[in-house]
């Protein structure tokens, strides 16, 4: 992973409303947005960012790009991502919601074959507070510091970052991996990224009911992560069997999940308990738990 202040960033779908809004916000934050792509809008300039019709035309003009953020309509996301991979871009953030899962299956296979990191879809992207904003995180909720934050949600991520910030706990890197059933990068991948990141001293993992990704993350923490991890699970009181916006948040005890109890808040809590990961009951407890482990690991406040 290289999400640095000087990373060169491309915005695909820059002429879309969301793309244009967030391109401007990212640039204001200091992100090095070098070009935008929107077919048919080539030759224009948006927020002082040059716009090209295709990725292929942008790269010769601005040089190699490290990261692309995709805001194109849902059915054009797969094509946009394949276009970026073909042009040699190896870090892709998909902000768009509603990408059909089978498109993500194709993209995930391509990403594995080309060693590309795909974040999202339906995600707020990545923020390295004080350095770089890649996505839709409201930057006023974040300050630099030692906490790495990984989450499946959008606004809940903002909520927890805000709680940390209000308690004086800054963040190293915050990522929303996306709430869909099929997303590009997993909790495990991000745990590994933050484990290797020097700026991160403690990791907060924000999960929710549905799917089995928290259970898998708990096992991975037990086996491979040395840094302290704090978890939080949303959805204890959500009724079973109802869909709650995120495609991942469906509890089905049927055949599709091939395991009767996986996906409930209880099974996720149990998995974290087994991995000796403290679980916060409410967002406001997270800062307390983080402070406790930081104290234990001898973190000195500068």
């Amino acid at each position: 992973m290289s999400f640095k202040a000087d990373s060169k960033v491309l915005i695909q779908g820059i002429a879309e409303t969301l793309g244009s809004t967030h391109a401007a916000l990212m640039k204001t934050y200091g992100t090095n947005v070098v070009a935008g792509v929107s077919a048919g809008k080539g030759g224009q300039t948006l927020h002082d960012i040059p716009v090209f019709d295709m990725v292929d035309q942008a790269l010769p003009a601005v040089g190699p790009v490290d990261i692309t953020a995709i805001f194109t309509p849902a059915y054009l996301v797969l094509d946009a991502a394949l276009e970026a991979i073909a042009a040699g871009i190896r870090q892709i953030i998909i902000i768009t919601e509603g990408v059909p899962p089978l498109d993500m299956v194709r993209l995930a296979a391509k990403a594995e074959a080309t060693d590309t990191l795909v974040i999202g879809p339906s995600c707020p992207g990545v923020i390295v507070p004080g350095k770089v904003l890649l996505g839709t995180h409201p930057s006023e909720f974040y300050i630099p510091g030692p906490v790495g934050l990984i989450s499946r949600s959008g606004t809940l991520t903002y909520e927890i970052a805000r709680e940390l910030t209000r308690s004086g706990l800054g963040q190293s890197t915050c990522v929303g991996i996306g709430g869909d059933a099929i997303v590009g990068s997993s909790f495990q991948q991000w745990l590994q990224i933050l484990e290797e990141d020097d700026a991160t001293e403690v990791i907060v993992l924000v999960g929710e009911i549905g799917g089995a990704s928290e259970e898998a993350a708990a096992r991975y923490i037990d086996e491979a992560i040395d840094k302290p991890v704090i978890a939080y699970i949303a959805g204890h009181h959500a009724p079973k069997g109802r869909r709650l916006g995120h495609a991942g948040a469906i509890i089905t005890a049927g055949l599709a999940d091939l395991g009767a109890d996986v996906g409930t808040a209880e099974s996720k809590m149990a998995a974290f308990k087994q991995a000796k990961v403290p679980v916060a009951e409410r967002p406001s407890q997270i800062p307390e738990l983080v402070k406790k482990v930081l104290k234990k690991s001898g973190h000195k406040k500068k």
Binding site: Y75, L102, V105, G154, G235, R242, G245, R282
Partner: protein
């Protein structure tokens, strides 16, 4: 979106998966013009499971019995759902019943083929015998044969069953489905295969590129009249519970976290509603090709305020609702518009025949333009609280004071 059995079978027929001769019955009198020979099975067309056990399937030998059975089925709710249609289908003598399915596995991010030689209505028995093949590269028929062998099939059944699996896979990919299931797949004494029941779940997010499936979805939505939900909010993010606190948030994760907090604080939620405009737009209302991120609001509303007003109306329809907790967070959402919506909603409520008494609105807002929103809300005596837990505590207190517990 779950299709009804007769709709799933229509797709099977197009794909060349064998299904029995059948006829759609909209009214018991339609049976007088039945074009398939007796004996027949009459099957309730509901989207919920457990139909057979609930008495939603009846076998009949003649018109008189058929009309009586159809009348009974039309009046039999299954898990609260009445059928709008009954399917009349030829009877089939199966020697064996198998289970087959194609699904997407979230963890491996690959399609998975499932099969069991113990199909039928006893799903738990099926689960125990189920075999699984992950399609980890481009599909080729050998994956289907691999499943047939794992199921323990021999001889001609290998080809006939894997042939069905192959067609199910094609359907799965062509129509962007979440699930294709045949349960049971009937096997006759002579080894013929027949899809006796089928389940197809279309992917909501891909409906925009499958107009034929989206049309089915819009027809089905008109029929679900148990809750009067405005079109902009007609998704699956509104959940009714038994308490007295309505919860409206933007974002699924935040909604669940807020719901948890209300419960942990001793409150009783009446319902919860996620009005994240983006996830809403991905809902199964004909998401049009070019409108998804360009206009993050559902196309039925022009502004965030209008959207929130509709949400407030929906969340307070139930007379048990004493408190509404609105929790809106984020930079895109305009605080000012949120305040305006609450003001309009409360004014309308006051001037309508319903009285405002007994309803408290608690607003938790964080974002840009907060001071304007604060001023506007304080003018109508609605508290704006920036801290989530404080807002939750206030909502729970108010609810307790109203009901006096």
């Amino acid at each position: 979106m779950d299709l009804l059995e007769y709709q799933a079978k229509e797709l099977f027929r197009e794909m060349g998966i064998p299904v029995l001769p059948s006829q759609r019955i909209d009214h018991p009198s339609d049976l007088k013009g039945l074009r398939i020979p007796y004996p027949i099975a009459l099957k309730s067309q509901v989207r919920v499971g457990g139909r057979g056990k609930a008495g939603g399937v009846k076998f009949v030998e003649n018109t008189i019995d058929a009309v009586a059975a159809a009348q009974a089925i039309f009046h039999l709710p299954i898990m609260g759902e009445y059928p709008q249609v009954v399917l009349a289908e030829s009877k089939y003598d199966a020697d064996q019943e198998f289970y087959l399915a194609v699904i997407l596995d979230r963890a491996t991010r690959r399609p998975v083929l499932l099969g069991s030689i113990k199909g039928g209505i006893d799903a738990e028995a099926t689960l125990e015998y189920i075999q699984l093949v992950v399609v980890d590269e481009e599909f080729s028929p050998f994956y289907a044969r691999r499943l047939a062998l794992k199921m323990g099939l021999k001889g001609e059944l290998i080809e006939s069953v894997s042939g069905i699996v192959q067609k199910m896979y094609q359907l799965f990919v062509q129509k962007d489905l979440d699930l294709v299931e045949i349960n049971p797949l009937g096997i006759s004494a002579t080894g013929q295969v027949m899809a006796l029941d089928g389940k197809v779940t279309a992917n909501d997010e891909a409906l925009g590129r499958h107009p034929e499936l989206a049309t089915l979805a819009s027809k089905m939505s008109k029929r679900a009249k148990d809750e009067e939900i405005p079109p902009a909010l007609a998704n699956q993010n509104f959940v009714q519970l038994d308490g007295n606190i309505a919860i409206i948030c933007n974002g699924a994760g935040l909604t669940m976290a807020t719901l948890d907090l209300v419960c942990f604080t001793g409150g009783q939620p009446a319902n919860f509603l996620n009005i994240s405009p983006l996830s809403n737009e991905a809902g199964w209302r004909m998401a049009s090709y070019d409108s998804i991120p360009g206009n993050p609001l559902p196309k039925e509303v022009d502004s965030w305020s209008e959207y929130l007003e509709q949400a407030l109306e929906l969340a307070t329809q139930n007379k048990n609702v004493k408190v509404v907790l609105v929790n809106i967070l984020g930079s895109v959402t305009l605080c000012e518009e949120t305040a305006a919506a609450i003001e309009t909603y409360l004014k309308r409520r006051e001037s309508s025949s319903r009285t405002r008494s007994g309803l408290h609105v608690i607003v938790r807002l964080v974002g840009g333009n907060l001071s304007v929103a604060k001023e506007r809300l304080s003018a109508i005596k609605v508290p704006l609280i920036e801290d989530l837990e404080e807002a939750v505590a206030k909502a729970v207190d108010k609810a307790k004071a109203v009901v006096g517990y």
